[in-house]
């Protein structure tokens, strides 16, 4: 048999290709470009690649919108309008994320360890820090992860879906371990993420295997075609296999989104990872995973009969309710701002899941707008967190002041920063005139259209409780006078006494202080007042863009809604 070279339409691949190629070039830069200019070159290359990806998406837009789809090699790579929409959101959010990652503030340090491979607390680490080394491999890693995210929703092939999942996850595991401060916590987070992520990957892979088992193919469209045969044997003979396969794939993807009960990794990882990476993960991974979920699960659901689809819907109902409940309720008792934002992100996963029910294009449209609105607010909020730091008695800037007590009275010290943070929180709470309101309105009305009005009611109630913890933070920043760090000192004491806790990231008040111990003795922490760093431009630009975006999407949402409406079609069909 003669090998026939496939005809590849490179233009269709371009949004992903430009990012992955830049990642490869980035690795070469690490090897060949001198130390002085390496960081600058990497930042420029990374931003250029991501902008290039946005441009590629824009150029492909009309073609895909007209044809309904574009593919390479039998759908191994497949673009639908919805995929392009998710890719646009991911690429734009990644640009903003890279801006935050690249910011070194006035201290001249970025958020990453000089050499992440050094064992924490060793002389080698100290030497690396004093030598002023910097880990510019961060940028190619971010590019590879972004490439995986762009590929994630852009395939018809379940094997490629799995590869994309790994391509996006593996760099993230590494990135999580690279925090400059609280390095034990960071490495612990990375390891947890890796273990649990592998576990979830396995679950998804099992689901893929089951789908292959009943459909005899790893192509979604083919599987759909075979399932949809009227009176065909698949649904008749193996309903359990079908629902198990679809459910396991769904669970694997829900893990990445951070929906309960698959959310347990989220608070620990979000807290431990370097904050710019947390922001990047929270915004982009969620967008990509939601995109993949819509692509895969929505598509597969079309092949289910009414009963099986109802089963899947019941499962999603349970996940949505549980996630909203866990996110809002556990978020209400957090004392660490990063953990609080992590639970907020869990709650948002719940709100997103509300829109999945019904598996309709209305839901897809709502989801697309939601990930954009959520991503902007979340990235902006984590960017703000990177700028609020602790300081020891000598005025040396330490890590982020993540304990809530540190945030008291912040509005007096940094009114603009506090205003921006409040804006992001209000958007997450879904207050009108912010993007979050329109987004929530969209997902709840999608649920109502799908007949799941009780779910919408639960969602609205959960939003009401969520408002409590967002507003509590605003009240803390604006109305509470800054305490003389009494609480922080107490926490340090508590942590020192409670050393028998095996894992550093035990939830609650002790964790931040306990983590701080790895870098500085608790005694210094006790004196630590809070300082708001001025960014070196990058993070400020990101915060401003996020804030403007949140307001614009909230005040004049029509343009974005129309765009999301155009991109609602998630299957390769002629419009």
């Amino acid at each position: 048999m003669e090998f026939e070279a496939p005809v590849i339409d490179w233009a269709v691949l371009s949004p992903v290709l430009v990012v992955l190629a830049a990642g490869v070039v980035g690795v070469l830069i690490e090897a060949f470009v001198p130390d002085r200019v390496r960081r600058a070159v990497q930042v420029v290359l990374t931003l250029a690649a991501l902008v290039g990806s946005v441009v590629a998406v824009a150029l492909l837009w009309d073609r895909v919108a007209t044809d309904g789809f574009a593919f390479v090699v039998n759908g191994t790579f497949l673009l639908t309008p919805f995929t392009l929409g998710i890719q646009a959101v991911v690429a734009v959010l990644a640009i903003l994320g890279v801006l935050v990652i690249a910011d070194r503030t006035r201290t001249g340090d970025d958020a990453f360890a000089p050499t992440a491979a050094a064992v924490p607390g060793t002389t080698y680490e100290d030497a690396a820090r004093e030598a002023g080394l910097q880990q510019t491999e961060i940028y190619p890693l971010v590019l590879f992860a972004t490439g995986g995210m762009l590929l994630f929703p852009a395939t018809d092939n379940l094997i490629v879906l799995f590869i994309a999942l790994e391509v996006l996850s593996l760099p993230l595991y590494v990135l999580c371990a690279t925090a400059r401060r609280r390095r034990l916590l960071s490495q612990e987070a990375a390891f947890k993420y890796f273990l649990l992520g592998s576990f979830a990957s396995a679950i998804m892979l099992f689901g893929i295997a089951l789908v292959y088992g009943f459909a005899g193919t790893v192509s979604l469209e083919t599987a759909l075609f075979r399932m949809a045969q009227p009176g065909g044997p698949i649904l008749e003979l193996m309903p359990a296999l079908v629902i198990a396969g679809v459910l396991l794939i769904t669970v694997g993807l829900l893990f990445k989104i951070g929906a309960a009960p698959f959310h347990m990794w989220t608070p620990d990882v979000y807290q431990g990872a370097p904050t710019p990476i947390t922001g990047f993960m929270a915004a982009c991974v969620k967008a990509a995973a939601v995109g993949a979920l819509v692509r895969v699960v929505f598509t597969l659901s079309l092949g289910l009969d009414e009963e099986l689809r109802r089963n899947l819907e019941v499962g999603l109902w349970a996940v949505a309710i549980l996630t909203m409940l866990v996110g809002t309720v556990a978020g209400a008792v957090q004392t660490d701002v990063k953990r609080l934002l992590a639970y907020s992100s869990i709650a948002h996963a719940g709100f997103l899941t509300v829109a999945f029910v019904g598996f309709s294009e209305t839901g897809a449209q709502a989801v697309l707008f939601y990930v954009l609105a959520y991503g902007l607010a979340t990235l902006g909020a984590f960017a703000v967190v990177t700028l609020v730091r602790e300081q020891d008695a000598d005025g040396v800037v330490l890590g982020e002041a993540t304990h809530l007590s540190h945030w008291a009275g912040l509005a007096r010290r940094a009114p603009w920063l506090a205003a921006a943070f409040s804006l992001f929180l209000l958007s997450m709470a879904g207050i009108p005139l912010t993007a979050g309101f329109i987004a929530k309105f969209g997902v709840f009305s999608a649920a109502v259209v799908a007949g799941a009005w009780p779910l919408a009611v639960v969602g609205v109630l959960a939003s009401a409780v969520a408002v409590f913890f967002y507003v509590r933070l605003i009240v803390l920043m604006v109305l509470t006078p800054p305490a003389e760090d009494a609480e922080g000192a107490q926490d340090a004491e508590v942590a020192t006494e409670g050393q028998d806790a095996p894992d550093l990231a035990a939830d609650g008040a002790g964790s931040s202080a306990a983590a701080g111990r790895t870098l500085a003795p608790a005694r210094t922490l006790r004196r630590a007042p809070v300082v708001v760093l001025s960014s070196r431009g990058f993070a400020t630009v990101a915060i401003v863009i996020c804030a403007v975006g949140v307001v614009l999407l909230g005040v004049v949402p029509q343009l974005a809604l129309d765009w999301a409406g155009q991109a609602a079609s998630f299957r390769p069909v002629q419009p």
Binding site: M264, R310, G315, V329, V333, F468, D503, A505, D507
Partner: protein, 650 residues
């Protein structure tokens, strides 16, 4: 009108708004020149208005109505509202009144407020007021009008309480604010009814289809609009705030609480003419409210010793005339606006004169401690004197033309109405003559009821028999110039606008042409009666307050005078009828809130907290437990599916 001039209309609102924004944002740095920026913004607005007016006058009468739409404001399903500017003779009349009187008062305030360290903030608020008032009169929909309506309410609140370091001033500001909210509810409810009935709140929709609507609905809308007008224009039963509003700086009283804002209610009713014509019952109520307020204000004015409060009572009474005219239907609209314009001039002049007197008398407002000031404050005395003759309705001053028209119109009609309304209007003119003459004579004529230090006195408040020590002096030219200009208006404006019924015809594109009806009494008789009553009132005041000595403390008086001194017990009535039941209601609501709502809510919050703490306990940090829970969670979901959909996975 040409499109170019029409497109200038937004700048009428934008110019003073930019002025206010600059003054507030630049802050203390603009303290030295801020007031001139305020004057400039106001004057520039006047010039823009003049350009539009001249262009309008050059056009044919049927070409004089235009709407300039700037943008779509609200577009949700059935409700579509544009940001548009209604440029027609009625709105331009207001624009000219607001910007001309406003600019003069800006100028006056430069000197009047020169010792105030917050003068810049004062000018910012004044500019804000002008912008809001212009938006109110230029809006092309009730909703946009409402924005201006609230804007002037805000500016009024800020300016009444401008000296808020004195508690009574802050309280007065709050009182005005709260009473205005009652009226605002009327406007909001009226808009809801309009939306439900006509499917829109813009003037063209509502006024165009008002005639075809059910009479019950139009009556309801008319009464709700009247409620709104009562709040803003201090008409019964929402009149009580105006007297207290005099706590604000005097230029504010002149501009907002005499010339412009308080007349917004009249504007609203005249603008809504077609709705009212479809609701005769509402029209009757409007006329009755106007007539009652006319008498109420006049009676209160007779007993007030505070010069500003006497003027405030007079304002209330004069607006009563306008409301009466507005309640008479198309025949009265033009006269209501006519009187509104002349009143704007002479009342603003009178207030500025009162400010000048206070300036001379160490901010004293008690007329019983004035007297004999004419020689020392000649310009003030002459300009106030001209305003006084104008408000009396002495020919040929401007008040004569406008008020006489209203009295004549009140006598038109059938049945009991012309007799009642006509008589009230006549009586009002007589009482007005009495109390305004009282004010003038107590201030400028008679013996001095104060001493200079040279004449011997022990201290500031320590002259013999309690007469205070004062050093009256004429005000600087920045203050007298606006007074002179307004006095010229008080003298000539009525004649100029009345000649050939010029003003009535000018307004016709908006108010419609009204057939002339003859009053039930001959016109010459009405004029004679009016002038006789005016002369009688003036003579009585002359005898009492210019010829006889005026006691420096209020003498004992019969019950009706005592009642008038305390505003005919308006506050007691309000407290008994509204405040007391309100308090009881709120107390019981607070009780219910504490025992039922709060307890439930706190219980919920506590529950959330406990549940959250429990969840936090699950988050142990052990990765093995996380993995177990992930797997267990999957099991739970399968279980849920199995439970809720019966068969499913089995």
């Amino acid at each position: 009108m040409t499109m170019q001039t029409l497109s200038l209309a937004p700048w009428l609102v934008a110019t003073p708004l930019i002025g206010a924004a600059l003054l507030l944002l630049v802050g203390r740095r603009s303290d030295r020149w801020g007031h001139w920026l305020g004057v400039l913004a106001s004057t520039a607005t006047f010039v823009i208005g003049l350009v539009i007016l001249l262009d309008m006058l050059a056009a044919d009468p049927d070409q004089r109505v235009g709407v300039h739409t700037v943008a779509s404001w609200i577009d949700v399903g059935p409700l579509q509202v544009d940001v548009g500017f209604q440029v027609d003779p009625l709105s331009m009349t207001f624009v000219m009144l607001i910007t001309l009187v406003g600019s003069l008062i800006h100028l006056y305030s430069v000197a009047y407020m020169s010792h105030d360290r917050d003068r810049r903030r004062f000018f910012a608020y004044l500019n804000l007021f002008v912008a809001a008032m212009l938006l109110l009169v230029l809006a092309d929909s009730y909703l946009l009008l409402f924005v201006g309506w609230e804007g002037v309410g805000l500016a009024s609140f800020l300016l009444i309480g401008f000296w808020d370091h004195h508690l009574p001033n802050a309280v007065a500001g709050k009182k005005a604010f709260v009473m205005n909210r009652v009226g605002d509810m009327g406007l909001i409810a009226a808009m809801m009814l309009m939306l439900a009935t006509f499917g829109g709140v813009d003037f063209s929709t509502v006024l165009g289809s008002a005639g075809a609507a059910d009479q019950g609905t139009t009556t309801a809308i008319g009464l709700l609009l009247l409620l709104a007008a009562c709040g803003k224009s201090a008409q019964l039963p929402l009149q009580a705030w105006l007297g207290d509003a005099m706590a604000g700086p005097t230029p504010v009283s002149a501009l907002i609480h005499a010339a412009t804002m308080v007349t917004a209610g009249v504007y609203l009713l005249v603008r809504s003419g077609p709705v009212l014509e479809a609701a005769p019952d509402a029209q009757l109520v409007i006329a009755v409210v106007g007539a009652l307020t006319l008498l109420f204000g006049a009676v209160v004015g007779c007993a007030k010793d505070d010069i500003k409060k006497a003027l405030a009572a007079s304002t209330m009474s004069q607006i009563g005339y306008m409301m009466l005219a507005a309640g008479l239907g198309p025949v009265g609209y033009a006269f209501a606006i006519f009187h509104l314009v002349t009143h704007g001039f002479f009342k603003a002049g009178l207030f500025l004169g009162a400010g000048s007197v206070m300036h001379a008398m160490d901010d004293d407002v008690n007329m019983r401690r004035f007297g004999g000031l004419a020689r020392l404050l000649p310009v003030t005395a002459i300009t106030m004197g001209l305003g006084w003759l104008a408000i009396l309705g002495v020919p040929p001053f401007s008040g004569f033309y406008s008020k006489d028209k209203i009295i004549e119109a009140a006598f038109v009609g059938e049945g009991w109405r012309p007799w009642v309304f006509g008589t009230v209007a006549l009586l009002g003119a007589g009482i007005t003559a009495y109390y305004m003459s009282r004010l003038f004579f107590m201030t400028f004529m008679g013996r001095r009821r104060w001493v200079t230090e040279l004449a011997g006195g022990a201290g500031r408040e320590g002259g013999s028999d309690g007469t205070p020590v004062r050093h009256p002096h004429e005000s600087p030219w920045l203050m007298t110039l606006p007074m002179i200009v307004l006095a010229v208006g008080s003298v000539g404006l009525g004649f100029a606008l009345n000649a050939g019924e010029r003003f009535v015809h000018f307004l016709e594109p908006v108010t419609g042409h009204a057939e002339h009806h003859d009053p039930v009494l001959p016109i010459w008789l009405i004029i004679t009666l009016t002038l006789t009553l005016v002369a009688a009132g003036l003579a009585l005041a002359f005898v009492q307050y210019a010829m006889r000595p005026v006691p420096t403390t209020p003498p004992p008086a019969p019950a009706v005078v005592r009642a008038a001194r305390v505003d005919l017990h308006q506050d007691d009535v309000n407290e008994a009828v509204v405040m007391l039941p309100g308090k009881v209601l709120t107390r019981s609501l607070v009780f219910a809130d504490r025992t039922a709502v709060d307890a439930g809510w706190l219980g919920l919050a506590g529950g959330v907290g406990r549940f959250g703490t429990w969840l936090r306990g699950l988050q142990s940090g052990y990765v093995r437990q996380y993995a177990a829970m992930t797997l267990g969670g999957l099991g739970v979901i399968v279980l849920v599916i199995w439970l809720f959909s019966g068969q499913g996975a089995s």
